[in-house]
Amino acid sequence: MLHQLRGPAKSLYQFYMVGFLVFLALPLSIVAVFSFNDSLFAALPWQGFTLDWFIGQTEPKLGILYDDGLLSSIAVSASIACFVTLFSLLLATANAWLFIRFDFPGKNWLYIGLLLPLVIPGVILGVAILVASSNLANSIENSFAWELEWLRPGFVLVVIGQVAFITTIATLVVLARLRKFDFSLEEAALNLGANSWVAFVTVVLPFLSPALIGAAMVSFLMSFENFNTTLMLVGSDAPLTIAMYDRLREGSTPVLNAVSLLLMLGSAFIALVSMLFDGKNKQD
């Protein structure tokens, strides 16, 4: 195509692409750079290089490594993400197997149902789950006088809310891989005397493993960085995105830049690993 473009048009197009890449990189690089600024504000003028926003031990330059509030919110986020990943992955594997291996009446409708969470705004999903769980908690309290604390906003509800939509995404990842599976391999295992469970574990699961790892990483990241659904379901222990949002409203310090830089490095690492598995996924 580019051979059709000559002279100024071609340069203009390449110039546009460079501009686009700058647009993409600018906000993130600015965040990273200002995590090293020796100033109480993430703003110009540049006050010199410092690592205080990472390792500072005293206020006002309390670094992320000594900021208990942010550290505990990272722990909350990580444990939420672990639960969400576990449940979504189990559900995704079962769902993918169900939709690939079985024909049943209403399958197309159920597939549309599977995709539905993609077009529900996160805030609404969160609100709906909040309403349903409060209704349930209230009616249990009224009839049995039991107060079920886990049905009120907090850790469990955040996990439930995130599982609701992350399952869809994880299922799509696993489905894409399972579509390429040669089911004669499974039949061969069955002919050789394996029962269907043994055939699944020894033949299908190894084939699925790159997609499962990929889906796990996607689920973990999506859970870790989710804001909209979490916002409606959060209790007293704030996950990282919510804690950062609260700090931002109070007036930010560059410790947020330091956290952001660590987040970027972490996500980039996970993303690169998952792309590696995705590449392997597409090769065979």
């Binding site: 686009f20 906000p27 600015i30 079962a94 609701a164 909209n228 952001s260």
Partner: protein
């Protein structure tokens, strides 16, 4: 496999539990709540009370109209910005550069939306990099506030949702046969003809699925309008949050949720209808 054995039902069970308990039931309960009118003297009653309140208060429905309008605008701008990029990645760049470009488009979106929005705040605010940079260059005397207006909010929305436009566009454009473009030029078309009558029609499925995703993301966004848009830029998700968390008026908040869900479903259905695409094919890739 048509087996209707125990295995089938054991696999159906988790799906049905997830779908009914986490998706269907909560939304039905939200719908139910939206029709309840609380009255502590006369007792609760059922009716359109919440929806009448929505229609009766201009702030509410104007916020909804504004949210829809700004989301459509953001979707359109995202399409304009992303199309040349997707075309470059799919058809112009080769080998290593192509992979590198795609990777550099993907990576920023693995970083939390909060961090991306925060980056724009540091750039655009009065004490921010652009304003101070302009002052240092002597281009302005006073710091300029670029934040808290519709333009900065649109920039944030476009930036946040771009990936969901670029990826489907790239995957449809990759299937476009180079010879079709060449034939267009051979028949005397210029760049504009070829783009509008060959490339764009071919990319339609990608355009539709990208637009639906981006529109949904903008409509349901909370962070970007809140942090970049300032006090005057009301967003409908903010109204839902306010009713639920700040005012504790869950009935009205539920009605707002139902309304937003209806509007978004309508727009998605309309988009699919107008372009002749199917829901499971565009989104269930």
């Amino acid at each position: 496999m048509k087996a209707k054995g125990l295995g089938f039902y054991l696999l159906l069970l988790p799906f049905v539990l997830w779908f009914v308990l986490l998706i269907v039931l909560p939304h039905l309960q939200m719908l139910e709540l939206s029709f309840i009118k609380r009255d502590y003297v006369a007792g609760d009653s059922v009716g359109w009370y919440q929806y009448q309140q929505f229609l009766g208060e201009p702030l509410y429905w104007r916020t909804l109209l504004r949210t829809v309008w700004m989301s459509l605008l953001a979707t359109f701008i995202t399409l304009l910005v992303s199309f040349p990029v997707a075309f470059f990645i799919a058809k112009v760049a080769q080998g290593k550069i192509k992979r590198l470009l795609l990777l550099s488009c993907l990576l920023p979106f693995w970083v939390s939306e909060l961090v991306r929005t925060y980056g724009w705040m540091i750039l655009l605010r009065e004490s921010g990099v652009i304003s101070q940079g302009l002052m240092a260059l002597g281009l302005t005397e006073q710091p300029i506030e670029f934040l808290y207006n519709d333009v900065s909010m649109l920039v944030g929305l476009v930036y946040t949702s771009m990936l969901f436009m670029v990826v489907p566009l790239v995957s449809t454009l990759e299937g476009l046969d180079q010879s079709l473009i060449e034939a267009g030029y051979d028949l005397g078309g210029n760049g504009w003809n070829v783009t509008t009558s060959i490339i764009v029609p071919y990319a339609m499925p990608g355009i539709v699925s990208g637009c639906i995703m981006v529109f949904m993301l903008c409509l349901g966004n909370y962070l970007t309008p809140r942090l970049l848009g300032g006090k005057d830029s009301l967003w409908f998700t903010e109204q839902i949050f306010t009713q639920f968390i700040t005012r504790f008026n869950w009935e009205l908040g539920a009605a707002f949720g139902v309304i937003l869900l209806l509007v978004s479903s309508l727009v998605v259905a309309l988009g699919l209808k107008l372009s002749g695409q199917s829901f499971s094919r565009t989104l269930g890739r």
